[in-house]
């Protein structure tokens, strides 16, 4: 009874929401345009939506949970001439310089400054600081180790029995990755890749979910993070590629010889497009979600600027309702993107390790192989 009721509510709201998205997007652009105008008018007080959003989705030294509540994180710098230097990000507060370094507030990058207080571009500063994203990253690692450690001991406790506690939440996810992602795509060799796929899934999921918390970092919406994940996926796929995989790349069977000059470059580009698509998909999905939510919330401040406090108060319930729905959708996206990344990675690995390519059309080089049915 209640289930179908909620389902109906959900469907209805999804319908309403989907029809409103384009309108809202237009609204955003409109307002953003206006705010820039306003900002140009009153340069100091003006609310800049674009800046606010970028500030939230980008990395920074120190972790500001809310205005005035900031956790200072260590800044770790390496320069060829001065070696490793570690100090608190508190020393950079309010644009201050420290030890001859300062942060460029436009780009967020640390530069060496010369005696005149100008950025010295000749010194390359390697910034290995524990930034907001790094701190969140490490937090997610600790959380995952703690949670999965608890799941492990729960497994040990309920040996052979039915799951209890947190195991009941995590176990279906593990089973899902194993039975719906790894097994169908990887066949009988799935066990070798399962720890990697599970780690990828839970890492992305944990960071997606952490990113939804207010004041949190945008880890999986950062291109450096998704790039590392994609590069690892690239290596896992290509290092496990078998003879058929590489042969298919350089000499696809069933293709007329005169098409080879076209097909081979396409295949080689495809090799790199796959991880790049993984990288951009995750980054763009998570960042876009954050941008939409921040834009919606920013509307309140824009309204405050344009129509005064009354308009802002009047608008906020509507904005809050939409933000709530978007947060629910982001919750879905958090699971979905973790699933998609894992699924695609396992599909790429599957294509690299399978014995017989679909493209062979039966005239390939599979005589010496017995085609085994994939369980």
């Amino acid at each position: 009874m209640s289930g179908s009721f909620f389902k109906r509510i959900f469907l209805l709201s999804a319908l309403v929401f989907s029809s409103l998205v384009p309108a809202l997007a237009q609204d955003d652009e409109h307002h953003e345009g206006e705010t820039t105008v306003v900002e140009h008018g009153k340069s100091e007080e003006g609310f800049n939506m674009g800046e606010m959003i970028m500030h939230h989705i980008k990395d920074e030294h120190g972790w500001e949970f809310a205005h005035g509540l900031k956790l200072h994180l260590p800044v770790i710098l390496y320069t060829a001439d001065r070696g490793l230097e570690v100090f608190s990000s508190k020393d950079f507060e309010e644009g201050k310089a420290h030890n001859g370094y300062h942060i460029d507030h436009k780009t967020g990058q640390v530069h060496r400054i010369d005696t005149a207080g100008k950025a010295d571009e000749s010194v390359k500063v390697w910034d290995f600081s524990i930034t907001k994203n790094v701190a969140s990253l490490l937090l997610s690692v600790v959380l995952l180790v703690v949670i999965l450690g608890a799941v492990k001991s729960s497994f040990a406790k309920n040996r052979g029995g039915k799951p209890t506690g947190i195991q009941r939440f995590i176990e279906p996810l593990i089973l899902f990755i194993r039975d719906e992602v790894a097994k169908p795509n990887l066949g009988h060799g799935y066990a070798k890749y399962l720890p990697y796929l599970l780690t990828v899934f839970f890492f992305i999921l944990a960071n997606n979910l952490l990113g939804l918390l207010p004041g949190s970092a945008n880890v999986t919406g950062n291109i450096a993070v998704t790039m590392v994940l994609a590069v690892i996926a690239f290596f896992v796929v290509n290092l496990s590629g078998n003879k058929h995989y590489w042969m298919h790349l350089v000499l696809p069977s069933g293709v007329p010889w005169w098409l080879l000059p076209l097909i081979i470059p396409i295949e080689i580009i495809g090799l790199f497009v796959k991880p790049v698509s993984l990288m951009i998909r995750l980054f763009a999905n998570i960042t876009a979600g954050h941008v939409i939510i921040l834009s919606l919330l920013g509307l309140i401040f824009v309204a405050n600027q344009l129509g005064g406090a009354g308009t802002a108060w009047g608008l906020s319930p509507v904005v809050i309702v939409f933000t709530l729905f978007l947060n629910l959708i982001e919750l879905l996206v958090a699971f979905l993107q973790a699933y998609i990344f894992t699924l695609l990675t396992s599909m790429y690995i599957g294509s690299a390790i399978e014995d017989n390519h679909d493209m062979d059309h039966g005239i390939g080089y599979d005589e010496e192989h017995i085609i085994e049915p994939v369980a």
Partner: protein
């Protein structure tokens, strides 16, 4: 576009964090978790298999029992039928035997009677012959002496001997 340029520090920390996470989880979590999942699934599978096997065995046993029962029933019937046949045969045989024995005895008795009668008749015939011969002798003897006496004697003898 600064959003699209990866930061070297974050790249480094992400490699460290993800690599560390992978190696920690692989030996610390995934191995035991996947092993116990597999173990549990195998347990469930073997329990199901056992149940299925037991069910099949039970069915087989039931079928066996029924077969045995049917066999016992048919055997009982066969035995009963056999016993009845034997009994019937026995009765028939003894009746036949008794009948034939009775017949035989009757026959024997009849034969004996016949024989005895025959013997009696023979003896009687013999006696009649010898008597007749005696009479004839006596008559012949008397005739030789006295004709009238001879006649009288014959008459007397005939009068005294009544044939029966």
């Amino acid at each position: 576009m600064e959003l699209l340029t990866p930061n070297i520090g974050l790249l480094f920390w992400q490699i460290v964090a993800f690599g560390g996470l992978f190696f920690i989880l692989r030996s610390f979590a995934w191995k035991p978790i996947l092993a116990s999942l597999k173990e549990r699934e195998e347990n469930i599978q073997s329990a199901l298999d056992l149940a299925e096997k037991t069910r099949r065995e039970m069915a087989a046993m039931k079928a066996d029992n029924e077969k045995l029962l049917a066999q016992a029933r048919s055997e009982r019937e066969a035995i009963l039928r056999g016993a009845k046949e034997t009994a019937d045969k026995l009765i028939a045989e003894s009746r036949d035997k008794a009948e034939s024995e009775g017949k035989r005895i009757l026959e024997q008795a009849r034969e004996t009677m016949q024989n005895e009668r025959q013997a009696l008749v023979m003896q009687m015939k013999k006696e009649v012959v010898s008597l007749s011969l005696d009479i004839a002798e006596k008559v012949l003897r008397k005739e030789l002496s006295d004709k009238s006496a001879q006649e009288k004697l014959v008459n007397d003898l005939v009068a005294t001997s009544s044939l029966n």
